[in-house]
Symmetry: C2
Subunit: 332 residues, 2 copies
């Protein structure tokens, strides 16, 4: 674009951009955060790592910030949203599978007894996820997820799932990027599921989403090549899989990591073991009124060992109730 | 950085940057390319896709350019350089493995008969690669590769392997980036091997390198967490694995792809099947004097089916001898 525009216009555009960035930096970049220890730890980290000459300065190329998704950027109750998508897919696919009427875990799902399907354990849950996420091309899957996000509504808030995102975390993502950090999602969620909304909702492009993945197979179809999604797990990006996925895909150790559960513990440990003064953060769900309150005993987003380690090592723990002025953008 | 510098300085710096970019754009961005059909196809593609209002305009976020490495960005003769690294590693590791003196394929390697080791087939080659790339942490591996690149010399040119890179392709990478494209390596080579030099040699950061990978395992060691490299293949980024790897890691279809062998055919097909007017290129090794001449009958970098498809479909085929003024930067 620099090469095609009129020459004299370009510097003016850049000057304008620089001035607007300066103006933005002078106002509060995190307006939905109360001025407590969590916000202070974040802004101090950014000031220290972006000030040239500071002993904690991090060169721009090494400013890698990673964020879990479920329970960290958007909610994960009453069930992971991707699992609710899987349930809806099973219902849509049921006419092609008459045998499901009498086969578990499908029978329970089709009878509306999701709890009963879940109670059948990890193998049953994985089967639902695999079958509902395979048998189509990657492009068809992307369209399917986007269509679902348009129409599906969260059972408690009666809004699209893409609105059940934490406004303070959206601000944090923008603040980190404005400070020269490259923001990545590193989540147990499916990489292709998250890509369908991460760009629009979080400003995170497809190539900066790391997640669990199923295998795909390159095939020459009638209308050219396609990638078929197979009902086979390739990689689970959770627990120890998170640092493994970070190394495999990003290839740099993060200097800033945010999670909310024991599934993020190893990612935070891996970040903490880096050079300099990295930042480790956890969202603690303490607000049953505006969101949910859960931690050590929760079946989803259990926060137990990672919380103990955060306390012992002085990582930042966000108290949702105290630290966030607003949880969701749609709140009055 | 914007937030910390004196306010009045920032716009001036940006103006200077813009002017220097304009100046660079006005001179030839591809000085090592002869003004033949290949260079013209490249510059026409860039002009068409970056001019706002053009029917072929590609928004900056979608400007994904992918490059094979072996035989496309650097040479691959007399053997893949990474295999030569593996051979050297076996020699270094031999004192800890006295049994190798009598066990193939190690015996042949240690006796200096690499051809004999290779003749034992893919299984033997894979075994050498696995054993030489595992049993250490990812950080130790990175240091090992960097140390090898410092001291090892190419058998024909007697220079570091990082100098056996194609100057015209280095210029092309820079030209694509200056035109707003995000450049990725998508190679059958090992992702962690390539990351040890891709940033310095090609200007491609670790998070934009896609390659074959071994499994790693997160472990809590005495000095904190480490990722141990296991002698187990996780993913082979070659042939149909290339579009699979692109989808898995980049998550967008490229609009520009360059390879040199049948291992790149599916990546080029995947790119060609995208919307708009994508660019597909192949480097044809036609210069036995300055580099090597090989194609349909080569055991390394075989170019046969992909060449036929390129001819049939009008993809750009670079004739190294005719199209490149200079192959390596060290040439007089």
């Amino acid at each position: 674009m620099l090469r095609t525009g009129p020459r004299s216009v370009v510097p003016a555009v850049l000057v304008g951009l620089a001035l607007s960035r300066l103006a933005a930096a002078q106002s509060d970049p995190l307006p939905s955060w109360n001025d407590g220890p969590a916000k202070q730890a974040i802004t101090r980290f950014v000031a220290d790592t972006t000030k040239e000459g500071s002993p904690k300065f991090v060169p721009p190329a090494e400013r890698i910030a990673v964020f879990d998704n479920d329970g960290t950027l958007w909610a994960e109750q009453p069930l992971y949203f991707q699992f609710l998508f899987g349930i809806d897919r099973v219902k849509v696919m049921a006419p092609q599978h008459p045998e499901w009427k009498t086969t578990e875990p499908y029978k329970s799902v089709l009878e509306g007894q999701v709890e009963k399907a879940l109670a059948q354990g990890d193998k049953a849950i994985l089967e639902i996820m695999m079958i509902s996420h395979a048998g189509m091309t990657t492009e068809e899957f992307d369209k399917t997820v986007r269509a679902w996000l348009e129409t599906a509504r969260h059972p408690r808030f009666h809004r699209p799932y893409t609105e059940i995102v934490y406004q303070p975390m959206v601000e944090l993502l923008g603040y980190m990027r404005a400070s020269g950090f490259k923001t990545f999602i590193v989540s147990g969620g499916g990489v292709e599921f998250m890509r369908a909304f991460a760009d629009k909702v979080y400003g995170i492009p497809p190539e900066q989403v790391v997640g669990s993945a199923g295998e795909t197979k390159f095939q020459l179809g009638q209308n050219g090549p396609v990638l078929m999604k197979l009902p086979k797990v390739e990689f689970i990006d959770d627990g120890p899989g998170k640092p493994e996925g970070i190394q495999r895909i990003i290839g740099r150790r993060p200097v800033f990591a945010f999670g909310n559960s024991d599934g993020d513990q190893q990612m935070l440990e891996w970040t903490a073991a880096g050079q300099g003064a990295p930042f480790m953060g956890l969202v603690h769900h303490t607000d049953a009124e505006r969101e949910w309150a859960y931690d050590r005993a929760s079946h989803i987003g259990k926060l137990d060992k990672a919380w103990d380690e955060a306390t012992a090592k002085g990582w930042t723990v966000v108290d949702m109730k105290k630290d966030w002025k607003k949880v969701f953008a749609f709140e009055k």
